[in-house]
């Protein structure tokens, strides 16, 4: 065994053992994409509205509020990052209730206290039900009357809007009950004067949120309640009146309780949103994907299954067609797979479902290098060279071809990585890592193994 062969063998052993150890020790470091482990992927788009124009720091403040909310909600390893100039990507792995999470991060949660100046009468009557009427005609008439009532109610809110124009800083807001509108005075106190908010049931056992104001807020609240005894004070959340209690007495001490029609979960979320603060700008859900854990597990299982069957077919084919040179190729393929996983962990890449497909595809493409080399060696041998010389020439001539063909595919893979997003990007990474790993296996690993055989005097190529 000459010097070069020794060095090559040592390099192969070092790389393989190193990659195996690394992959084994860091096996928890392999990131699975949300499509495999389940979770929610939400893209928020900040909206530029006249009331809340987008400024340079809007997105950063938005990020801070979202981080705060998600941390308090308790999601393990969330990813919250800026994307472009006006978007935020939120990845929440493994959450059970994606709809709740969406509400938590998508809602502005701007809370104001305002004086109630006027209200448009009453609730919308219940829609008539067919079974309460004797005939179709009666039912249709009842429906007509009901529609008129609803129309009248919406006209009433139009009156309020006219009044609202007369008073500076006032607002017409709907209540949670359909058909009820309030004319509200200027903001007395807002959510930014809060120091704490907690979910708490009131004395009747209804779910609510208890609020604690800072000293400025406490002073404003006391002044307002003193002035408004006997009047209604509205608590407005995102321009909807969630409750409008009558002020019984002046309230000092900076504490208040809001009650609405909440479930315990809703009250808990509201408390988190109020504590973390309102979103500085309104957001829109641009993209929202959620994969349940069972669907993800199915995908992994199916991916592994396809990978195993594919790998076995390739391994068997190479063994049958190239016999023990096929064995060398199979060993090299095993090394390629180890290197791919080690590489993915080292680059902190995320394995997605298309990524798994990329690895499976790499299995087939990886042995291409071996096929090229073996066919070359055969040609050289047929041309009458010695086993050693044909091995050498075969590798040398195939090398250029292998590099050319892999570099062009690598160009496509890098473009995917650069321009793709999400799972497509994951595919680009796996394909790139797979290409580099397979070229190394083809050129170095296979060579080291074959060199050993040839040195032992084996005829590696049938003539």
């Amino acid at each position: 065994m000459n010097r070069t062969d020794k060095i090559r063998l040592i390099v192969v052993l070092l790389v393989v053992v190193g990659a195996l150890c690394f992959a084994w020790l860091e096996r928890d470091g392999l990131n699975l994409g949300l499509d495999l482990k389940g979770g929610a992927h939400i893209v928020l788009q900040a909206k530029d509205t006249p009331e809340n124009p987008l400024r340079d720091d809007s997105i950063d403040r938005l990020l801070a509020v979202l981080r705060n909310r998600i941390d308090q909600y308790g999601v393990a390893e969330p990813i919250i990052q800026k994307s472009g100039s006006d978007r935020i990507i939120v990845d929440l792995p493994g959450i059970q209730d994606p709809a709740a999470a969406l509400e938590l991060i998508g809602r502005t949660a701007q809370m104001d206290f305002r004086e109630v100046l006027d209200a448009s009468g009453r609730n919308v009557p219940v829609e008539p039900q067919r079974r309460n009427y004797d005939s179709d005609i009666q039912f249709v008439n009842a429906q007509e009357r009901w529609k008129e009532e609803v129309a009248k109610l919406s006209n009433a809110s139009a009156d309020l809007i006219v009044h609202a124009k007369e008073t500076e800083g006032s607002l017409v807001a709907p209540a949670e009950d359909p058909g009820v509108f309030y004319l509200l005075g200027p903001v007395v106190l807002s959510g930014k004067d809060l120091v704490n908010a907690e979910m708490a049931p009131d004395s009747l056992g209804r779910m609510g949120v208890s609020l604690e104001f800072n000293s400025e807020g406490a002073r404003l609240f006391e002044e307002a309640t003193a002035r408004m005894v006997g009047k209604q004070l509205a608590i407005v959340l995102d321009n909807v009146v969630i409750s409008a209690p009558v002020v019984q007495d002046r309230i000092s001490g900076g504490r208040a309780q809001i009650t609405g029609r909440f479930t315990a979960e809703e009250a808990g979320r509201l408390a988190i949103m109020l504590k973390a603060g309102a979103l500085p700008v309104a957001v829109e859900i641009a993209e929202n994907r959620s994969v349940g854990p069972s669907l993800g597990a199915d995908s992994i299982r199916q991916g592994l299954q396809a990978g195993m069957f594919g790998a076995v077919m390739v391994l068997v084919f190479m063994l049958i067609f190239y016999q023990f040179r096929g064995l060398a190729a199979d060993l090299a393929l095993a090394v390629t797979i180890v290197l791919i996983f080690a590489g993915l962990i080292a680059f902190n890449a995320t394995l997605t479902l298309p990524g798994i497909a990329g690895i499976i595809l790499t299995l087939g493409m990886a042995v291409d290098g071996n096929v090229l080399i073996y066919e070359r060696i055969r040609e050289e041998r047929n041309a009458g060279k010695t086993p050693m010389a044909s091995l050498d020439a075969g590798f040398r001539k195939a090398l250029v071809t292998i590099l050319d063909s892999n570099i062009t595919t690598l160009i496509a893979a890098l473009v995917l990585f650069y321009f793709g997003s999400g799972s497509v990007r994951g595919f680009g990474v796996t394909l790139s890592v797979g290409l580099v790993a397979s070229v190394f296996s083809n050129i170095v690993v296979t060579r080291a193994i074959l060199q050993l055989f040839v040195k032992r005097g084996k005829e590696i190529v049938k003539r």
Partner: protein, 287 residues
């Protein structure tokens, strides 16, 4: 096998082969223009809801239940063994919630396993990204081959790529399989694979280039094709095995990707052997 002296006259049929390819490409383009592609919500925006039942009802039954909520054109399909997948073109959160509520009201055993919503802005961006991405890849590859080989080789190796991509798109137009963002990955992989094949054959042509004046271009190309034939067959097989495994066992999420690869590999092998080489013969012969 190794003793066999391969000597097929591939280039004898280059004109019929090129004609077949041309017909397929034109047919694909006509299909794309008339029938179009079934673009998924990644590109169009919309809602996809995946649900699972203990006792799966008929698709028609589910359609009935949600027909009052979603506008026409909702796509409802069986998914896996217990699942149903519902796709609507409405891209609001409210529309999704309404569908889920209606399902829960009718079926007590329904479980939402996943959903996707893509707004219209993102969809448009993805479409643009896809076109830019594929174009940049093609230009970059063209430049690389021009540098490594010569411009003529670059052109005859890019034509098959366009051929393969159009045929793969044509296949998706016929089958109306849904195209999602991972389809872009499949297309670029097809480009990479087909190119791989073409380059290996052209590489051999370049190696044999010295005998051009003696053999003539047709014989030279034939010799190169025969020399690389067993490699072409073996690599096509070893790549097809995993892709077939993906088609059979890879599950419904990967189905479109897997079939795109399958068509792409077949088209890619064909185009490397006949289109790239055939064009080179025609072009060189003109001179």
């Amino acid at each position: 096998m190794s003793m066999l002296r391969l000597d097929f006259d591939f280039m004898k049929i280059r004109k019929p082969a090129l004609t077949i390819s041309l017909v397929l490409v034109i047919a694909s383009i006509v299909l794309l223009l008339t029938r179009g592609l079934n673009l998924g919500i990644d590109f169009t925006g919309g809602n996809v809801i995946q649900v699972e039942f203990d006792n799966r009802p008929d698709v028609a039954n589910v359609r009935e239940v949600i027909s009052s909520i979603v506008a026409k054109g909702a796509m409802i399909q069986n998914f896996g063994e217990k699942g149903i997948i519902i796709r609507t073109n409405e891209d609001t959160e409210e529309s999704r919630e309404a569908v889920v509520k209606a399902l829960q009201k009718t079926y007590s055993d329904v479980k939402v396993t996943g959903f996707e919503k893509v707004g219209p802005v993102v969809g448009g961006e993805l479409r643009r990204q896809a076109i830019i991405g594929v174009s940049i890849a093609l230009v970059a590859i063209l430049i690389y081959i021009t540098l490594r080989f010569q411009f003529r080789f670059a052109v005859v190796s890019v034509v098959p790529l366009v051929h393969d991509v159009i045929i793969a798109l044509g296949f998706f137009s016929i089958t109306q399989m849904e195209i999602s963002s991972s389809f872009i990955a499949a297309i670029l992989t097809i480009v990479g694979y087909s190119l791989n094949n073409t380059i290996i054959i052209l590489d051999r042509v370049r190696e044999n280039w010295g005998t051009l004046s003696r053999d003539g271009i047709v014989n030279l190309v034939n010799k190169s094709l025969n020399q690389t034939l067993s490699r072409t067959i073996n690599t096509t097989l070893t790549t097809l095995f995993p892709v077939i495994a993906l088609c059979v066992w890879g599950g419904p999420v990967l189905a479109a990707f897997s079939y795109a690869m399958l068509v792409g590999i077949v088209a890619g092998t064909w185009s490397s052997m006949f289109v790239a080489t055939g064009l080179l013969c025609e072009w060189q012969g003109k001179k």
